[in-house]
C-alpha cells in the first residue's frame, strides 16, 4: 500500500509540473501578453520596459524555473493590469466561489436525495415518472442554457437580485449566491436523484429490509432509518468528486451571473491578457483536480487490493 501511495504521489507531482510547463509555453512562449492586439497599440519601448519589469527579458527556461520556484514558496507575483498581488486577488475571490460551491452542494443533495427516495419508494408511480422526465431534461440541457434562462426570466424578481446591476447596489451574499447555485445544482441534483433511486431500489430488495418489515416496523422507519443509511453511500462518493468540479469549473455560471468568484476572475483575466492571474488560477484548478483524483485512486486501492498490484 505504501509503495502504491508513493508511486501515485510521484505521478501527481509529475502531472502538475508538466501542466505548469504546458501553461507556461501557451501563455509566454507561443503568446505575447504585451504585443499590440487589435485596437490596442503598445510602443516597442513600453513593451521592453514591461518585459524587464516582469522578468520576461531573461531566457525562457530561466523564467519558467523562477515561476516554479516562486510557486513553491507561495509567491504568485503581481498582475499585469493594476500591479495587485495575485495571491490577494485569489484570496478575495475564493471565499465567494467556496460559498457558491457549498450552497450548490447543499441544494443538489437535498433535492436529489428527496427526489431519489420518492422515486424509489413509489416506483412506477406518477412521481417516479416525473422524476425520470425531469432528470433526463436536467442532464440533457446544458448548464449554460439553464443559466441563461434563469438569468433572463427570474433575476430581478422577488429575492433574486438583478443581473447586471450597478456597483452601488449592495446585495447580501445569500441572495447573490442563490441563482448561480441553483444553476449549478440542477445537473448534480439530477445525477444524485438517479443514483439515489438506483441504490435505494437495490437496498429495498435486501434481506435485512425484509426482516425490518417482518418485525412490524412502520414503512417510514424502514426507509428513513434502515434503507437510507446504506443507499446514501454512492451519493457521498459522487458529492466528493463534484466538489472539485464546482471549485474549478464554475466558469460559465459565475460569468453569466457576474458573480465575483475565481471563475469570473479567470474570464476577466483572460480577456485582459493578465497572464500572472491566469497562470495562478489554472494551476490552482489543476492542483485541485489532480489532488482529488489521487485521493480517489488511493481510496479505491485501499478498498480493493487488486488495484494496488497492477
Amino acid at each position: 500500500m505504501g509503495k502504491f501511495v508513493i508511486r501515485r504521489l510521484a505521478q501527481a507531482v509529475l502531472v502538475v509540473i508538466a501542466a505548469t510547463l504546458l501553461l507556461f509555453i501557451g501563455l509566454f512562449v507561443l503568446g505575447d501578453p504585451f504585443a499590440s492586439t487589435g485596437d490596442k497599440t503598445v510602443p516597442p519601448e513600453t513593451q521592453a520596459i514591461l518585459r524587464e519589469r516582469f522578468g520576461m527579458d531573461k531566457s525562457l527556461p530561466m523564467q519558467y524555473l523562477t515561476y516554479l520556484g516562486n510557486l513553491f514558496t507561495g509567491d504568485l507575483g503581481v498582475d499585469f493590469n493594476q500591479r495587485r498581488d495575485v495571491s490577494d486577488m485569489i484570496a478575495q475571490a475564493l471565499p465567494a466561489t467556496a460559498r457558491l460551491a457549498l450552497v450548490a452542494i447543499i441544494l443538489d443533495v437535498l433535492i436529489g436525495v428527496v427526489a431519489g427516495i420518492i422515486a424509489a419508494v413509489f416506483r412506477y408511480s406518477f412521481w417516479d415518472v416525473l422524476v425520470t422526465i425531469l432528470t433526463t431534461l436536467a442532464i440533457g440541457i446544458p448548464t449554460f442554457v439553464i443559466g441563461i434562462w434563469l438569468r433572463q426570466t427570474v433575476s430581478g424578481f422577488w429575492i433574486f437580485p438583478g443581473v447586471p446591476r450597478s456597483f452601488t447596489e449592495v446585495v447580501p451574499w445569500y441572495q447573490e449566491v442563490l441563482l448561480p447555485a441553483i444553476t449549478l445544482a440542477i445537473v448534480d441534483a439530477a445525477f444524485i436523484a438517479r443514483l439515489m433511486r438506483g441504490s435505494m431500489l437495490e437496498v429495498l430488495r435486501t434481506d435485512y429490509i425484509r426482516t425490518a418489515r417482518a418485525k412490524g416496523l412502520g414503512e417510514r422507519t424502514v426507509i428513513l432509518k434502515h434503507a437510507f443509511r446504506n443507499s446514501i453511500i454512492p451519493v457521498v462518493t459522487y458529492v466528493g468528486i463534484s466538489i472539485g468540479i464546482l471549485l474549478g469549473g464554475a466558469l460559465i455560471t459565475e460569468t453569466l451571473f457576474q458573480y465575483n468568484g475565481v471563475g469570473f476572475l479567470l474570464v476577466k483575466s483572460i480577456n485582459q491578457n493578465n497572464n500572472p492571474v491566469i497562470m495562478a488560477l489554472v494551476t490552482f484548478a489543476v492542483l485541485i483536480y489532480v489532488f482529488l483524483s489521487m485521493i480517489v485512486d488511493i481510496l479505491y486501492a485501499y478498498l480493493d487490493p487488486r488495484i494496488r498490484l497492477s
Partner: protein, 320 residues
Amino acid sequence: MTTQPDPADLSAPAQAVLVESASDHPGPLPEDTGGKKGKNRSQFGDFWRRFKRNKLAMTGLVVVAIMVLLALVQPLISPYDPYDQNLLNALQPPNSDHWFGTDVLGRDLYSGMLYGLKLALIVGLATMVGSMTLGVVLGAIAGYRGGFSDGLVMRITDLFLAFPYLIGAILVVRTFGSGVFQIILALVILGWPTAARLMRGQILALRESEYVEAARSIGASDTRIVTRHILPNAIQPVFIYSFTGIGVAVVAMASLAYLGVGVPPDTPEWGRMINQGIEQVQVAGKDFLWMFPSGAICITTLAFAFVSDGLRDALDPKLR
C-alpha cells in the same frame, strides 16, 4: 458474463439471435444464411428493431436528421445573407419578413440561426471525428502494447484531463488565435484523452480473451488481431460516447463564443448571439434575441444525447 443457454432448448428466432451474437464482427453475414430472405436477421436489423422501439431515441434521430438537412441546404433556404447589416432595420421583433427578428446590426436572425446551425454541426462533427480517431488509435496502441507505450499515452491523457475542459479549450484557442479551425483543434486536444481511456480499457479486457488467444495461436499478426478481432468488439462504447461528444462540442463552442473566445466577433454563431442578446442589448422586450439561439443549443444537445442513449440501449441490451 451470463452462461450461454443451450441452443437446442430455444425456439428458432431465439436460436438465430444466439448464433449471431456469437459471431464476432458486424458486416456481411456468412453466405449460408443468404438463401432465406425475409427471415434473415442481420445484426444491423436487430439493432435497428431495438432502436426503433425507443421513442426518445427516434425523436432525437429525426431532429438530428432535420438539422443536418437544414445545414446542408442552408445557402438555399436563407432568405438573407446572415452577414448583411441594415442598421435602419435593427432589433425588429419576429415578423413575416424576418421570421426570428433582426439583431442589433439589423441582420436577419433566421438566416443567422441557420448559419449558426451549420457552424455548430461542422464543429461538432469535426471534433467528434478528430478526437475519436486520435483516441481510438492511441488508446488501442496503449492497451495492446502495454509497457512503455501504455505508460506514455496514459501520462499524456492524465496531463490533458487535469485541465478543466472549458478552461483548457479557452487557453488553446487563445494561443492559436480565433477561428473555427482553432476551436476544433482545441476541442480535439481536450476531447481525445477520454476516448483514448475508454478504448484502452476495452482493449485491456479483450486482449486476454480466448478468441484473441486463438487468433494469435494460428499466427495472426498484431495488426490483424487488433484491426480485425479486437477493434470491432472494443469500439462500441467509444462509438456511443462520440454522439454525446457532438453535443458537448456544440455547447463548448457556444460557451467559448459567449465568453468572447473563438469565432470572430461578427460571426453569426449561437453563443455570440446570446452574448449580444443578454449582455449588449439591455432593452426590454427583446427576448427573442437570446431565446432562439439558447433554444437551438438546448434542442441540439438533447437530440444527440437521446440518440446516444438509444444507441447504448440498442447496441448492448445488457447495459439496460
